[in-house]
């Protein structure tokens, strides 16, 4: 659980930083999906 939290938090912060000017929010499910795909890769 802690490792998953660390991964999701890290991915979430990166996504937020990268998309902050777009005016579009990423849902937490999308963040979880990007984390899953990233670390599965």
């Amino acid at each position: 659980q802690r490792l998953k939290a660390a991964v999701h938090y890290t991915v979430g912060r990166l996504c937020a930083e990268a998309t902050q000017d777009s005016g579009v929010q990423l849902s937490k499910q999308t963040v979880a999906a990007i984390a899953e795909v990233t670390f599965r890769q």
Binding site: R2, L3, A5, Y9, K28, Q29
Partner: protein
């Protein structure tokens, strides 16, 4: 200095990113890709997602794959362009009736005298 989240970060994760049991989607998985024609014993049948788990699909939106989607810092690879051209061909073939343009195209290279 280690990989743990600090208390503050943990609270932020808990508020912004944690998937809860009360959420419709509680977990996201990327299933192992399987080719129907290469059903090997090792994988056996595809695992049915448990309740509340969303299995990411690479084929759900296949109609979207007939054109290159916008990129950001990483351009499309050659194999991606190849994939898009195959999806375009499949899409084209789906709408054909009667003769198949792909077959007509390939047949023009056929030299019967070469067939022993």
């Amino acid at each position: 200095k280690d990989w743990f989240l600090s208390e503050e970060e943990f609270k932020l994760w808990n508020r912004l990113y944690r998937l809860r049991d009360s959420d419709e989607i509680k977990e996201i998985t990327l299933p192992q890709v399987q080719f129907l024609s290469l059903q090997n014993e090792e994988n056996g049948l595809t695992q049915e997602p448990s309740r509340g788990t969303h299995q990411l699909s690479l084929s759900e939106w296949r109609l979207w794959q007939d054109h290159p989607l916008p990129t950001y810092q990483v351009d499309h690879s050659d194999r991606c362009h190849h994939f898009i051209s195959i999806m375009q061909m499949i899409e084209g073939m789906r709408h054909e009736e009667g003769e198949c343009s792909y077959e007509l195209n390939i047949k023009s290279y056929l030299q019967m005298e070469d067939v022993s």
